[in-house]
Each structure stands twice: as C-alpha cells, then as structure tokens.
C-alpha cells in the first residue's frame, strides 16, 4: 500500500509541528534563557552551596532508589513470569499502581504512614528528611524495571535455564550466567527510565521533604523555590542542569540499544 505523497508530507509536518510546539520550543527556550547572559552567571547560579547540595542530594537519592528498584524489579519480574501463585493478577496491578497514582497522593500517603502520629514509627526520622525522600522516589519509580524485564523474560523462555541445569549449573549459577545476560537489555532500559524518573520526581518528594534548603532540597525542588522567589535566571540554570542529566540519560539509552547480532 502506498500512501499519497501529499498525505505523507502533511502527516510529517503535523507530527513535527506537534513535537515542536509542545516539546522542542519550550525546552529550547529554557536553554536560551539560561545562557542568554553568557556562561558565567549560569555557573555562579549552579555552584551556590544550596545548588551544589541539591545536586548531590538528587544523585544520592537516585543512587539508593535505582539499585533498590532494580533488584526488586528483577525479582518481581521473575516471580510474575515464572512463578505460579494465587493473586498474580493482583500483584501485577499493585506494581503498576505508582503509574496510575498521582505523586502528590503518594507523598500524602507516606506522610500518613510515617509522619508524626502515623502508623509506623522508626527510630530515625523519615518524614522531612532523606529517608522519606528515598521512600517516595522508590515508590514513584517502582514499575519501570519490572515492566521492561517481564516481556523480555517471557520471550527468552526457560529452556536455556533448563539446558544450563542439565549441564551441571545450580539454579543460582543458571541465573547469573544465563538468565541475567539474557535479560540485560531489559534491565538496562528499566534502569535508565528509573533513573530519569527518580531525578525528575517532584510531587511526592515535595510533600515528604519539608523543603529545607541545604538539607532536604533536590534539584527539582530548588527550581521551584527559585521560581517562587522570582529568581527566574536561577530557576532556568537549575532547570538546564536537570535537562543535561535527562539528555545524558536518553543518550545512554540510545547507546545501550542491543546490537542485532547478539539479540
């Protein structure tokens, strides 16, 4: 079936126009505004103690949340694909819940459970401190690894693991040498998406953090604070920093695309 040349052209224009108006122009404008007065003010703006702290805190939270969700995600995917247990559909739905739920609701829920007078009280402070922010980030970025790994596991099947078993591999050896390499691209995609989500999270973290500058302020919270304080240039600079991290993540994802000969 061949599509008329004119139809094809107008379709292309429509898609590019849509992307342009909604994505490229605003993001481009942010970058333009950021570097409007040269590099120096940007540099000064992202090297203030609050900004540096926010940057490292963002990374710290991501570095805790991403490995946690990766390990959980692989185990959950294995259970969902290979396991035979009652309530599988229910577990599957619960894992997707963070996608359906607004992050603000997640933040409020955490506040109710761990906050002062909440259901669970731990010996260390959770709410208005880093542990709560990690919890919130783990919660909102939970489904990515599971959802990326499940279809890959389904496609790979379990025959290779059975073959490994007949060749003398214990289930543990079969997992490390056969299963894990077979699903590595799925995990890699999941990790990239989880990282992007963890770094960009605002709603849930905003509620549980208490937004104490220099203590519980991540990059996204810093952007918001500067914006509220009419420090537009500062907000743009912090936004640009977030944008750079996002682009790096996307680049990593593109570079990680599996090569065909080893699929």
């Amino acid at each position: 079936m061949s599509v008329d040349r004119g139809v094809r052209l107008s379709l292309r224009t429509l898609v590019l126009g849509y992307l342009g108006v909604l994505l490229l122009v605003p993001v481009g404008l942010v970058l333009y505004r950021t570097f409007q007065h040269g590099l120096l003010p940007v540099w000064q703006s992202i090297t203030t103690p609050a900004a540096v702290h926010a940057f490292w805190l963002t990374l710290e939270i991501a570095l805790i949340a991403v490995p946690l969700n990766t390990i959980f995600g692989v185990i959950a995917a294995l259970a969902l694909v290979r396991g035979r247990f009652r309530g599988k559909v229910f577990v599957d739905a619960v894992i997707r819940l963070p996608f359906a739920l607004s992050p603000v609701v997640i933040g409020l829920a955490l506040l109710l459970v761990y906050g002062r007078g909440g259901w669970i009280s731990l010996p260390f402070q959770v709410i208005f401190s880093v542990p709560g922010m990690v919890l919130a980030t783990v919660f909102v970025s939970l489904p990515f690894v599971v959802l990326e790994v499940v279809p890959v596991l389904r496609e790979v099947g379990d025959e290779q693991e059975q073959a490994a078993a007949t060749l003398g591999a214990t289930p543990w050896q079969a997992f490390w040498r056969i299963t894990l390499p077979a699903i590595r691209w799925g995990i890699a995609y999941g990790v990239v998406l989880t990282t992007a989500r963890a770094i960009g999270e605002f709603g849930a973290v905003s509620i549980v953090s208490g937004r104490i500058a220099g203590q519980t302020q991540t990059l996204t919270l810093l952007v918001e604070q500067r914006f509220q304080n009419f420090d537009l240039a500062g907000a743009y600079a912090a936004s640009a920093l977030l944008g750079v991290i996002a682009i790096a993540t996307l680049l990593a994802m593109t570079l990680l695309k599996p090569r065909k000969d080893q699929g």
Partner: protein, 321 residues
C-alpha cells in the same frame, strides 16, 4: 542402565504418564515413539530431572536418581528448539558444562576443539548462535551436551524443527556419532521413519502407557496391537484384520481366503503401483503392487479382482484390529 520404575506424572487433570516401567540398556540408542500427548517427552524430562514424577523411581547406573536435581544426574539433554545460549559464542556454549565444573583451561580448550571437530563446526567457534543455521545450532547443542561426558544422552525431538533434507542428514550423522561414541542415547520422536532409521530399540507410547518395546523389526513384523501396527506404517483393513498394503496379493482368479473387489483407480508411483479397490461390502482398500505385477494383471478401473494376504510362512503381519 537406566531404569524407569512405575512412573506416574500428572499435569492437573491430565495424566501424562501412567505407571510406566522401562529399562534402557547401556550403549543402546532407544527411541520413544508416539503421537503428541502420548507422554514420550514427559518420560524423557522425568529421566532428565526436568520434571519430578508423582510416583515411581528413576535409577541411573544403579543409583536412585528420583530426587536428584537435573544438574547432578550426569545427563546430556538436547532440546527441540536448541536452547542455545544466545549471548555466548559457539565455543562458550560448548565449554559451558566444563566451566561450571571448573576444569583447567587447557583441558576445556582441547575438549571443545575435539567436539567442534566431531560435529563439524570447527570454523564456527566465535560465531553467535544467531549466525548459525538450524542444523548447525543443533549440532552445537549436541557438542555442548557431549562435552560433560554424560552417562546418558537425551534428545527431545532433536530434528523436529529442521527442514526435511537437513533432518535426514542429521539423522544419519547421529547414527554414525552413536556408533563412534557409544553413549547410551534416548531419542524422542513422533516420526516412525526416524525411529526405525536411527534406533536399535523402539518404545511405542500412547496415552501415557507403553504399548510395546522391541527392535524396529520386531515391532514392524510382530506388532502387539492395532495401535502399534498402524503407528509404525501404513495399514489396510481386510475384513476383520489389519494388514500392510504390501502384504496383499491381487489375482484375477478367485482363490482361498481372498475377497472379491472392484478396481477404482490405479496410481503409478514409479516402481510401485497403488491400486485403490472397493471390497464387496463397500469398504475401500489400498493395495501396493510392484510395477511388474500391475502390468501382468493388466489392471484397469472397473475390473473385478481377488485380494488376499500373500502366502507367507506364518502370517505375523495379521493382527486382530
């Protein structure tokens, strides 16, 4: 020797194996033959330890292996769809079992080279499975299974996913390999021709039970029942009996024990001629003749002929239906 002793296996409501007992002799090449759902693959997987039986025992070389996990049974298993380790090269695939056993590097390299030579993949060491044809992948899988010097080699429909001509080649190759290596081999197949061609013993399964076991010739010439007979080759029904189409003789004149029939159609298949007849009671009957016999009889549609068994010493082919 492998002994299967009273093994039963159920999947939910479905009874895949029903009190199956079987001895496989050392050094033999045994085929488990049956239609799909007959339990032949399940039996193989129970022997391998990939399925646990609900009842019964598996004894390998005098050792009760029933509760032994697959990785400690010392078996080599070849899957229908190869189960190649896709992220490993041919060389790494074949070396896998030896690496798990932490054999010295030099020994692994020598063994892998030897096996790749045997299976004719010498030049393919650093290819990935996706760069091989189906037949090459299956030969790689065989080398991988043989590398651990298994006590038993189990093949689950190993040629089922391959083209007909590749299948015939690999079959002949497997037979030669077995004559060289002498490892006790059990092969699952639904193809009677493959079983007769390759195996020195055939076990016919149906609905989770063993119908008969014996040499290919025994099964063909003295089938225990109508199922075995019809599964091992073409059959025709003559009155109350099942008979092989090539064991029927057609004559122009009436004779003892022969039934009257009318020729419906003559099909020339080169050396053979198939005569499609209709018996007096209306039942169809296909008879296989040599070309010379057909020419001598001058058969033509509409002719009335007499058909009965060839007068052979005893008639083991005839089995009550």
């Amino acid at each position: 020797m492998i002994s299967v002793d009273g093994v039963t296996k159920e999947f939910g409501e479905f009874r895949a194996l029903d009190d199956v007992s079987l001895d496989v002799q050392d050094g033999s090449l045994t085929a488990l033959l049956g239609p799909s759902g007959s339990g032949k693959s399940t039996l193989l997987r129970v022997i391998a330890g990939l399925e646990l039986p609900d009842a019964g025992r598996i004894v390998i070389a005098g050792e009760d292996a029933t509760a032994l996990p697959a990785q400690r049974r010392g078996i080599g298993f070849v899957f229908q769809h190869y189960a190649a380790f896709k992220h490993m090269t041919v060389r790494e695939n074949v070396a896998f079992g030896l690496r798990i056993r932490k054999r010295p590097k030099a020994e692994v390299a020598a063994k892998v080279d030897e096996l790749l030579g045997i299976v004719g993949l010498g030049g393919y060491q650093s290819r990935y499975p996706s760069q091989l044809s189906g037949g090459q992948r299956q030969r790689m899988a065989l080398a991988r299974a043989l590398a651990i010097e298994p006590r038993v080699l189990l093949l689950d429909e190993p040629f089922g996913a391959l083209d007909a001509n590749v299948r015939a080649d690999l079959r002949a190759w497997l037979r030669r390999l077995h004559d060289e290596v002498h490892v006790t081999t059990v092969l699952v197949t639904h193809d009677q021709e493959e079983a007769m061609d390759v195996a020195d013993r055939i076990v016919v399964l149906n609905e989770g039970r063993i119908e008969q076991e014996g040499t290919p010739r025994e099964l063909y010439e003295r089938p225990a029942n109508g199922f075995v007979m019809s599964f091992l080759g073409p059959v025709a029904r003559l009155g109350e009996a099942l008979v092989r189409p090539h064991d029927l003789r057609v004559t122009a004149e009436p004779r003892d024990g022969a039934l009257e029939a009318m020729v419906e159609r003559i099909v020339h298949l080169g050396f053979e001629v198939r005569a499609e007849l209709q018996l007096a009671d209306g039942a169809p009957l296909a008879v296989q003749l040599t070309r010379d016999d057909a020419v001598a009889l001058e058969l033509a549609p509409g002719d009335i002929v007499w058909v009965g068994h060839t007068v052979a010493p005893a008639e083991p082919e005839t089995v009550a239906a």
